[in-house]
Each structure stands twice: as structure tokens, then as C-alpha cells.
Amino acid sequence: MTRQEVLDLYFMDARSKLIDLAAFFDRVERASGESDFRLAALEQALALLHSDQPQKAKAVLLSLSDPTTEPIAKAPGKGACGAWPGAQPAA
């Protein structure tokens, strides 16, 4: 596909998702109380979109992933939350 064709097919969808994301950050800011590592993880991943490197989707997924390699001793539960707690930057 040409860039024009990609824009014709996907621009409105991307625009809508971008505004949703902006509204989400506004909503978080307006809310009271503490946030947690998930917000920091999302902000870090967002910065990757400014890169001029290809494969941004892959980079975002990697940044939200547990990078460790050893199996853990016991399951903390069954679910996953979408970000890795260990990724939070030192305060």
C-alpha cells in the first residue's frame, strides 16, 4: 500500500485512538490518590512512539514485558495486569 492508502484506511481510527489516550491521561490527572507502576510503564512506552526506529509496536510490547528469564517459585494469582512492576524507574 502507498502511504496515502494507509492514511485513507487508518487515519480516522488512529486519530480516534489517540484522542482516547489523551482523554485517559486527563482522567488519571483529574482523579485523586496515588497511581502505580502501570501509569509510569505507559508513559515510558508512549515515549517510544517518538523514535525514528521501525517496529514501534514491538518496542512498546517489549517495554511492557517482564524481561527476566528464570521461572518463578509460585504463581501470585492467575491474571496479568499488562505492565511489569519491576520496570518502574528508581524514584
Binding site: T69, P71, C81
Partner: protein
């Protein structure tokens, strides 16, 4: 249009879903054993589930002329209980002769624990011992990268395992290359929020090779869409892919993988 749903948890779906799938061109549905959304209290629950997958569900599908196949295992979410998992592993062999069983699946990891790894290895051994195809579930979200690496290590460590007879499912942009590069088949799951959208699935198909990939909906009791494979075919049409290319991805590829088991037979003319 014709397609195969290679990963659908039909026990969780309504009869209306069967009708909609067949209307959309579904030529076969394949159902891996999975977590019911709650932990079963014992091996008897799995016995009943395997009876449902090998007896009742194929009859329900047959009312719409739809061939139904299945895969058997204890899923990784319940594999943390090693004693229960060993009991379930003990009853699987007596179901392997049932005519709609394609192999062992969906095995894999959930939270990447030592117990899950132990039971994954036991399933791989079971599959190798009985010459079965393997369908692998990779973990969700932040656990997927690590889980995919660990699963590939386990599979590559067993010299009896032919990667061409194993599909690693729920691949995303950060895992699909390493799966394909290691010679395994890669599954892409179309699932709201936690997996991929049709547009991303087509991106991956275009980017990462087009031979050993299948698409599936993994429709189950969660928010999911049993028609997401044909909807992705529409996405491909919008991008200008030919009918032949679409047919290769959504029909011929899954038929080629599952056809490695001679039990995988479609209706004449499908």
C-alpha cells in the same frame, strides 16, 4: 469465502455462534482444552470435560455440518497444582484414540512458574511418546515474552520434537519472529484488548513471513468474537490482498498444519 477456526472454545459459545460461523464460511472448528474460568475440583471434572470435547461438542457442531476437532491437556492455569495435573495427565492417553482428537493442547505457561514448567515438560513428553501434534498457549500481556522464551527452551531441549508439528499460539509483534525463526508454526489470536486486532494481525502476516502462520479467534467465555477470522479476511481485502492469498492464510495454512494428523478430514468440496 472458506476458513478454518483452528482455536475456538466452543463449549463456552452458543449454538447461534455455530450457525453464524458456518454462515460466514467456516469449514472446521478445532477446540483446545482450556481453563473453564474456575478451577475444577478434581480429575473427574477433566474426565467429564474430555467427554464433552470428544463426544457431545462434535455432535452439536455436526448439526450444522461442521467438522469439530479437539486437543487435550490440563491447561497451564490449573497446572500450578502439580498433583491434580499428574492425575489429569494419567487419564489423557485413554482419550487419544477418540476420532476427533488432533493432539496435545493448549499446553504452555501462564505465570511462568516452576510447577507450570514441570507440567509443560510432562505434556511434551506425553506428546512425543504418543506421536501427537502440539498446540501451545503463550502467557498473556507482560508475561508473554518470558513465557515464550521458556516454552521454546523446553521444546528445543527435547530432540523428539519436530518444530513443524508444533504451533505456538497467541504470538504478537515481540514474540512471532523468534517462534518462526526456530522453525515452529505461529498462531495469531484476534482478541479484544489482550491480544491483537485484525489490522495488527495483517501487519504481522505481511512483515514476518506468510508460510507457517494461522489466525484464530480463541473465542471463549471472555469478551471475544467467533467471527474475528472472517472479519480479518475483510481487513485483508481492504488492503488489496487477493482471494488466493486470503484463502492460503485462513484455510490452507491451518489445514496444512492440522492435516499432519490424518484424522483431520474436511467435508468433500470444502
Amino acid at each position: 469465502m472458506r476458513y478454518i477456526e483452528p482455536h475456538g472454545h466452543m463449549v463456552s459459545r452458543t449454538t447461534d455462534d455455530y450457525e453464524a460461523m458456518v454462515t460466514a464460511g467456516c469449514a472446521a472448528v478445532c477446540e483446545p482444552a482450556f481453563w473453564a474460568g474456575f478451577d475444577r475440583s478434581g480429575v473427574e471434572g477433566f474426565h467429564d470435560y474430555f467427554c464433552q470435547l470428544t463426544d457431545y461438542e462434535p455432535k452439536r457442531a455436526a448439526r450444522f455440518g461442521l467438522p469439530h476437532f479437539c486437543w487435550l491437556c490440563i491447561n497451564p492455569k490449573e497446572s500450578e497444582d502439580v498433583a491434580l495435573a499428574e492425575d489429569v495427565l494419567g487419564i489423557i492417553p485413554k482419550f487419544l484414540d477418540r476420532p476427533n482428537v488432533l493432539g496435545i493442547g493448549e499446553i504452555g505457561l501462564n505465570k511462568n512458574t516452576r510447577n507450570e514448567m514441570q507440567i509443560l515438560e510432562r505434556h511434551v513428553d506425553l506428546a512425543a511418546t504418543h506421536g501427537q501434534l502440539i498446540l501451545v498457549h503463550t502467557p498473556h500481556l507482560e508475561d508473554k515474552l518470558k513465557g515464550t522464551r521458556l516454552i521454546l527452551d523446553v521444546l528445543k531441549a527435547d530432540s523428539r520434537i519436530d518444530p513443524g508439528r508444533v504451533i505456538i499460539d497467541h504470538c504478537e509483534e515481540h514474540t512471532i519472529e523468534r517462534v518462526l525463526d526456530a522453525g515452529f508454526w505461529a498462531g495469531i489470536t484476534l482478541y479484544p484488548e489482550s491480544k491483537t486486532t485484525p489490522a495488527r494481525a495483517v501487519d504481522m502476516y505481511e512483515l514476518y513471513g506468510q508460510s507457517n502462520i494461522w489466525l484464530n479467534s480463541a473465542c471463549d467465555w471472555g469478551r471475544s468474537d467467533p467471527l474475528s477470522v472472517p472479519k480479518t479476511a475483510l481487513e485483508m481485502r481492504r488492503r488489496g490482498h487477493s482471494a488466493a492469498t486470503i484463502d492460503r492464510l485462513i484455510f490452507q495454512n491451518p489445514a496444512r498444519f492440522m492435516g499432519q494428523n490424518p484424522r483431520f478430514q474436511l467435508r468433500e468440496g470444502a
